[in-house]
Symmetry: D2
Subunit: 322 residues, 4 copies
């Protein structure tokens, strides 16, 4: 049987029942249909976080049978639950791009899957959409400033390093010229689109501990240089407030279930090639607050994974993107 055939055989539990396993009341859930819910930030209990165990799964490459970090993490959390350990698996959200590409979805395989698979692989609860909107709002503000008569920031159109993002395998957007077509359409310049999970906004979302923290980090995003070689940040455009408003719901972790009906939290997905490659700090802490064991995975190589674990275990003091 294929992964999808296995998944479709399963009768999913209502998300209220999954929440109950973690001691979460129905009223605390923000439902997204019957099988997905967002969790409020106030579930985090810093004392409990310290007491619970965090198991990090990392690896260099999957086995030929396809057993990789995600599959092992899900399987391990299911096994721990079966032997009576209150366990939650905490994972990254899949990007849409690979779903339609060669890599396929990222919800595990065989009997180690998180469900509902199709929802998680497509729009899920809209977190990646929100990251994309917040990111592209900043980009639009940059070009708006550049073309305004006053050009209050004196930006150099050749030295704007903040690109746009789209959650799509669309190589033809990697390198583009924008702002063409005359005075109504901005200033011509070279730029490009990255995939959304490579957005610095995604990396920031995954590291932020609160909306206040989020806003501050968003304000620190480096945009580019002025004609006089002065650095410009998102805060110079007063962009962080509107960006944070767009990310308000996306800050909340998402609760789903494993194939065997145990709780799984899936939240955040920074691109491992260029960023920390692990789920949100909030998700890990929420898991540690609600379960005695959290199984998580990180990296796209064991070395990076181990390094990132120190991030996911919430001990990171600062985040400085290259």
């Amino acid at each position: 049987m294929t992964d999808i055939e296995i998944a479709r055989q399963i009768k999913l539990k209502h998300i209220n029942d999954i929440a109950a396993q973690l001691g979460i009341g129905i009223d605390q859930l923000v439902h997204y249909g019957k099988y997905k819910a967002k969790l409020p930030l106030d579930l985090i209990d810093e004392e409990k976080v310290k007491k619970s165990k965090l198991v990090l799964v990392t690896a260099m490459s999957p086995t030929p049978a396809g057993e990789g970090k995600t599959t092992v993490s899900i399987g391990l959390s299911q096994g721990l639950n079966r032997i009576g350990k209150k366990t939650c698996v905490v994972l990254r959200e899949p990007s849409l791009g690979p779903v339609f590409g060669i890599k396929g979805g990222a919800t595990g395989g065989g009997y180690s899957q998180v469900l509902p698979m199709e929802d998680i692989n497509l729009h899920f609860t809209g977190d990646i959409h929100a990251v994309e909107r917040a990111h592209n709002l900043l980009a639009a503000l940059i070009d708006n400033n550049l073309q305004s008569k006053k050009r209050s920031l004196n930006l150099d159109p050749r030295q704007i390093f903040f690109k746009r993002v789209m959650d799509m395998n669309d190589r033809s957007l990697r390198k583009i010229v924008i702002g063409m077509g005359g005075t109504g359409n901005g200033i011509p310049r070279e730029t490009g689109f990255d995939i959304t999970v490579a957005s610095e906004v995604m990396a920031i979302l995954c590291l932020s501990k609160s909306i206040k923290d989020l806003k501050e980090r968003l304000g620190n995003i480096f945009i580019g240089y002025t004609m006089d070689q002065q650095p410009i940040y998102a805060r110079d455009l007063k962009a962080q407030g509107a960006m944070a408003a767009l990310l308000r719901d996306a800050m909340q972790p998402n609760l789903v279930q494993t194939l065997e009906g145990y709780p799984a939290i899936i939240h955040g997905g920074p691109f491992a090639n260029i960023a920390q490659g692990t789920n949100t700090v909030i998700a890990t802490k929420t898991g540690l607050s609600l379960a005695d064991y959290v199984v998580t995975e990180a990296g796209f190589g064991s070395d990076l994974g181990a390094e990132n674990s120190s991030i996911s275990s919430a001990k990171v003091q600062a985040y400085r993107p290259v």
Copy 2:
């Protein structure tokens, strides 16, 4: 008091209570938190649709006090409910672009608002995100075919008329050159981004009666010409299946409430300047199936509104975009 101050004074009813006013059971709802829900397509009852009354509100321009089509529609539906007529207002979804621009949101004003205002004005239930993804997936497939060694469709890079979309006021994307940077990045060509609500996918979503109908209409999207001047459609790229998968949830109408706690369905929002400028046919029919009176609005001028009403009253046989 400003609109937002009025809105914040209100204690919202649970969406279950709103649904109950229309006779919808809790199990039939797809909850998006406590105050929004999607409605299943099988609530439509064609016999009931014929019996209910459809009130169309249209106008050329708002009054100086800001009373326009949306405000009047909401107020009228509230009044009808107060005098004991089982009424549902059915409206378009607002686009994100104008929210951050001069026009502001589109959830009414004063005591004629639909709520929760911020949710509706930002991501809502993700319908516009889904339209954008489906649209841009087709765009990515076009450029992928163009750059492939075989170029099976023999597309002329100068005659591709299907652009990309983004739900953002971002004029610098209106006219761009893509596919630059060498053989890995597609074929250079001129194109641009429209706002998402101007997408033909949005227009199609609003006219489709079923997933099957949706797929067929998506397949009929005209893309451009080959080097031999032959027209190419989305179906030539076999794009409609994946596009429809991305639109599955977006097909379901969204239930919210008016400021006075009466039911409101908000679904679909094609750009009135270039498309039919009215909510989905499914939303209107769902309203007519559940209430005795449906108040809806259309157009961005009374003539266009009246013409569009014939579309929204579901009597349209064919849709042919220019």
Copy 3:
């Protein structure tokens, strides 16, 4: 026999002999090989100009046999010479573009040709090359100012209307984006190439009466607008001196011969579609100073030709390009 076969049968006279027909001494000639020479500006005698007769040939379209303005002008001047009238034909220089295109060269046909045909049709004495260099020097100065740290002229990259030129049928250069590739390569902007004969520099060369006049007219070339909508001219870049230096030799009219060995002056070739469409004022005046009759042609339609004749007869007071 084809035009070229007829031309090759002819034994050309030495240019010294042609000059002698007009009373020009060998020392006054600037030789370009044996069959071409440039004439000094001081041959112009304003008194004689007034006394000589100027015959203007114009027409709407050639006969099916190919007899057009050029052919008639050459033939008429040969006939006048044969009946003893001291006559010089004065014509425009051909552009290289059409030589390799459909239109072919512009040296007449049959027994009404100017020779040496290949030289005249290709580089001739370098006048068009010089116009192109002077024009493109100004273009380079514009982009240099635009990208400099000071941007002393505050030019708006979207409102620079002065393009570049190339004497080539090269449609792919009509609309381009330049200044790409980073800070070393200028500021990105949309522009294009026209054919060299459409250059305003060519139009100016044809109207200028002296180097001083030339410089002043070059300085008046309109370039575009600043970010504050102020107009900018070539003189703001102090470009006119270097441009005039490049045009010094091009100011001198070129002496060649007709197929029957009578004098022909060929000088300047503004694109009739957008400019005055007649040879230089200096050439006409030189002809009128040396011969009793000058036959010239103008326009690419009889109405335009007649209107232009007033220009070529040197009575124009002002020249204002659109």
Copy 4:
């Protein structure tokens, strides 16, 4: 006194007198005014070439006083002439770009100059113009083939490596997008302009021994790849005939004089950074045929200069551009 003041003090000899020093008859000259002439190819005498002495001047960098390869070569040839050795200096033509840039002209300095300086530094006898036209004609043919309905060569627009050239310091043309604006204007693609002396056509002109040899070498210019990764050459576009026609006059070496009135041949100027960095083989051979000693210079470093000398001494069998 500055170089130009020294130059202007000199009363130039007529080019006929310079030619006489080398035993060239007036009828063999192609005059370009009184002080420049082109020399026919049949002056080359292979037997005499073998007997004469070729002195190569090369160096790493000039002295602080500005004495470099050119200055030393001119001075040495003047000295040899003064002590009675029949000597001709043979040099490269200067590019226009540096004349208006920081580097200034390339006609020597002090009392070691070649004259007439301004002519040589600006258009000279049009050789560089001709190289540019021939080069850009090929470029236009490439884009014409690319956009034609048949696309007979199946060229990949991303893999065309033959750029355009312009004899101008114009950095904003280094990296451009062409072919924009719709079906009438070619196919969009990235390309750029090099300076004309960096053209492979210039390198070829300097190595060719005859028009036949020139045509063959021009036909061998590599253009780029097809969509199927097959290499395409200029001969596939049948471009070499028209290109050679444009280069006919440019094949002939140019005779001028040194400041002391001795003969100097100046012909060809390939960009030393990327090509052979020495004058034409024809010019060196013409010098060796007419004088007993030829002083020439090469390279932009002594190592490259020495290596290039083997090229300039006409022993090269093949030329293979990188």
